[in-house]
């Protein structure tokens, strides 16, 4: 167990989601753009069109800045955000997939060296050699996606890992292949959208050619992504499907993603048939924002449907290990906390707060609620998924029975010994402005 970080009103998950969602654009662009670059450079060499090489110079410089400054740092940012919001979850992932991440890092290093060599050797080395550098980059970048998708898929469907604990059993999980295909297709759609922005900034030369290529790659990528999304949808586990249908927010996000996909398809189609003259840098950038909104929809859906877990079948959203994991001789913490108490088991809770007393029951109640609820909720009225709003006016006793019933919903069960549940319930009543319990009731149940 670790210290707690609380973001009032907004909540921690939003911080995580904001960084992770934005990161999708530069990361997928970094993986997809150089396949397009390779195609355009080959065309430029074969058809002797130096104006296309001029585009590529601008394109690769902008990718350098966008992907290897903001992209790299938001990638690191996801780690940092996960660290401060859900340290035990990122720890679990890292302790399972450290070699996967390390392998991905090798591809990052190749990418960064390749793109700088590519950019700074324009016109300085033989065209075929230059083309080869672009190809090396494209392959390395895509392989980094091959690796990270295994870890992302694992967070949704750990598959046989739950039985064996093996790296590849979790890596090649039930949603791995559809997700890899989907992301591969989407990287072309994102690359197409971005190329249209850069083309819009060009004054002459190959602008129209690039717009058409952007449209074709974008449309092809989006259409393929649609098919793979269908496959992905049908490989989701039962609980994810239930969440998709029962949580209103998820349903809205899911529909948003579909609407934006249709809008983007029309946009790409116009570009592809040469009707994209209206696309200047501003229109192109606007469409990037629209695409980002679609990504928000898709990613929110992916995040929410795995509730109440961070690692399904192993760790709950509030970072408590929820089930025995025999492959690694790990026991459920829920049972341990129910018998020995969460406060007593938390290594950082001071000795005078390990047991609930008449003097500390408010403070211990606060600790318990913050440890178990802040992963998804805020405490303030008007906040995101606010407990004050959801539980509006609830009294301590009702909150106590509610905590007993959490398992019936898509929430983790409350973990804690008898007085701890009452202390948490009492604090929830404080938060919700309801009738609180007496010190006697909290400590002794009387």
């Amino acid at each position: 167990m670790y210290p707690i970080f609380e973001i009032p009103v907004v909540g921690g998950p939003i911080l995580m989601a904001a960084i992770a969602t934005f990161h999708i654009l530069p990361s997928h662009l970094a993986t997809g753009a150089f396949w397009m670059t390779y195609f355009i450079e080959r065309k430029a060499i074969q058809e002797d069109r130096p104006e296309l090489l001029e585009f590529l110079k601008k394109f690769s410089l902008s990718i350098l800045i966008f992907c290897f400054v903001t992209g790299s740092l938001t990638g690191v940012g996801i780690w940092f955000a996960a660290t401060v919001i859900s340290p035990r979850a990122i720890s679990g992932l890292i302790h399972t997939y450290v070699w996967g991440w390390a392998t991905e890092w090798v591809f990052f290093v190749i990418e960064i060296v390749a793109i700088y060599v590519y950019y700074y050797t324009f016109g300085k080395i033989a065209p075929k050699l230059h083309l080869r550098i672009g190809f090396i980059y494209a392959v390395a970048a895509w392989l980094s996606m091959v690796i990270i998708t295994g870890i992302l898929g694992f967070m949704m469907t750990p598959g046989k890992w739950l039985a064996t604990g093996g790296f590849f059993d979790g890596f090649f999980n039930p949603t791995y292949w559809p997700q890899l295909c989907f992301r591969t297709a989407m990287m072309f759609a994102i690359a197409g959208t971005y190329a249209a922005v850069i083309a819009g900034a060009m004054k002459n030369g190959g602008r129209d050619t690039i717009r058409k290529i952007s449209g074709r790659w974008g449309l092809g990528g989006l259409a393929a992504a649609g098919l793979f999304a269908f496959w992905y949808y049908h490989s989701l586990p039962t609980n994810a499907m239930e969440n998709l249908q029962s949580i209103a927010y998820v349903e809205i996000m899911y529909k948003l993603a579909i609407v934006i996909a249709v809008v983007m398809a029309i946009y790409f189609f116009l570009l592809a048939i040469g009707q994209g003259r209206f696309v200047n840098v501003w229109v192109g950038s606007l469409m990037m924002v629209v695409l980002l909104a679609g990504v928000v929809g898709g990613e929110s859906t992916r995040e929410f449907v795995r509730r109440p877990y961070l690692i399904p079948g192993y760790m709950y959203s509030n970072q408590i290990i929820g089930h025995d994991f025999d492959a690694r001789s790990i026991s459920s913490e829920v049972e341990r906390f129910n018998s020995k108490g969460l406060l007593a088991s938390h290594p950082l809770v001071p000795t005078d707060l390990k047991a609930i007393t008449e003097e500390n029951y408010l403070k211990t109640g606060e600790i318990l609620v913050k440890v178990e609820c802040l992963a998804c909720h805020t405490l303030e009225a008007g906040g995101r998924n606010s407990l004050a709003d959801i539980l509006d006016g609830i009294d301590a006793e009702s909150a106590y029975y509610l905590l007993e019933d959490l398992e019936r919903t898509y929430m983790p069960p409350f973990a804690g010994a008898g007085p701890e549940r009452r202390a948490a319930a009492n604090y929830l009543a404080v938060v919700a402005g309801g009738e609180t319990g007496t010190a006697d009731w909290v400590v002794a149940g009387e």
Partner: protein, 366 residues
């Protein structure tokens, strides 16, 4: 906190998939590479700003080159920083995670200032390239951002070394501190000892720069000599300052750590002295000594990084925390996946760097 073994209970129950010493070795190796590039970024930015405001044409020209090189070094420093960040979480997870959560918002500030600093460097470089002289402000923004980032990451590392203070930081006040705004441990001596080598390595980089370009026919040899001399002087005097700062910091380290008797710090001091001597000698013909200085500087940084790890272990001794007894479930498949990719990756990187190296010297026909 009463229970000195509490760090063990915070370890991830999933254990590590290979021998902990391998993760430690990788962490040290990649951190050394990372910190060298961080040095080049900080020092390169300082010299680029200096050159920008200089009256000498050769300094302004150098400033433009350094601005471009620094944009590259920033990206490389970021990517190289990912690896030690990963490996430290594998074997020192209780320390790193606790420290980060206590200073959660500061980790976000760290990222924000890095993004602003890196983008400002690009603006500085592109505006200079476009002939705009009013670009100095962006250089200054970059260096300010880098110094803030350095202070934050330093504090995060220091907080991780003081588990005995965590409880007080969290529960010390009337309320539990969940704000994420705590930044509790800054050790000025150690921070300066990380920052001062920036000018040493940048100075040596300038010597290497002169050595690299003097093979070309289209360069001004006088200018290159000026660059090499500047680099040598910068490296020499900065190395003296670094040594003095290091000594000052060592004297203030708690005696209980017994760090003065640590063989790795002795090796580090010896190598630093050799480097200073070589830099002094290089005054005769700086570019000819560039490779030798580069080699000794790398060795010094590498040994100092091992010494940093040794210091961390000394800090954790009272908690009986040793990474070597971290629960392990060996996973050969994923280990081989990484090692094979790593070896292949080194080959690809060498191939690419060779192309860039030859192209920079004009040895390829376009």
């Amino acid at each position: 906190m009463g229970n000195e073994l509490f760090l063990q209970t915070m370890r991830d129950p999933l254990g590590v998939p290979f021998y902990p010493i391998v993760f430690q070795g990788l962490s040290v190796m990649t951190f050394a590479l990372h910190i060298i590039f961080v040095n080049l970024v900080v020092g390169g930015t300082i010299v680029a700003i200096w050159g920008h405001f200089s009256q000498h044409e050769w300094m302004r020209k150098l400033s433009r080159s350094l601005a471009r090189i620094t944009t590259i070094n920033i990206s490389i420093a970021i990517v190289l920083g990912v690896a030690p960040l990963l490996f430290v979480q594998v074997v020192y997870d209780p320390l790193w995670y606790s420290s980060n959560v206590i200073s959660a918002w500061w980790t976000m500030v760290f990222l924000a200032v890095l993004i602003i600093g890196a983008l400002s460097m690009y603006v500085f470089y592109l505006r200079r390239k476009g002939g705009q002289q009013r670009a100095g402000l962006f250089g200054l923004i970059t260096i300010c951002c880098l110094l803030v980032a350095a202070t934050i990451i330093h504090a995060l590392s220091m907080q991780a070394l003081h588990p005995e203070l965590w409880q007080g930081w969290i529960f010390g006040g009337t309320d539990m501190d969940t704000s994420g705004w705590g930044l509790h441990a800054i050790e000025i001596g150690r921070l300066f000892h990380f920052l001062a080598p920036a000018l040493v390595n940048t100075g040596i980089f300038l010597m290497l720069y002169a050595w690299y370009f003097e093979k070309r026919d289209d360069v001004d040899m006088m200018e290159l000599q000026l660059v090499a001399n500047l680099g040598r002087k910068l490296a020499f005097y900065a190395a003296l300052v670094t040594a003095l700062v290091g000594l000052w910091w060592l004297l203030f380290l708690p005696e209980s750590l017994s760090f003065m008797t640590d063989p790795t710090i002795h090796s580090g001091i010896l190598l630093s002295l050799i480097l200073i001597a070589v830099l002094y000698r290089a005054g005769r013909a700086p570019s000819q000594y560039a490779l030798l200085c580069g080699l000794f500087s790398f060795l010094t940084v590498f040994i100092m990084t091992i010494s940093r790890e040794s210091l961390r272990m000394a800090y954790l001794k009272p908690f009986s925390y040793s990474i070597y007894d971290y629960p392990q479930t060996t996973d050969w498949g994923s280990t081989i996946l990484f090692l094979a990719t790593f070896l292949a990756g080194v080959g690809v990187v060498v191939y690419l760097v060779r192309i860039a190296f030859n192209a920079g010297r004009g040895e390829y026909a376009a």
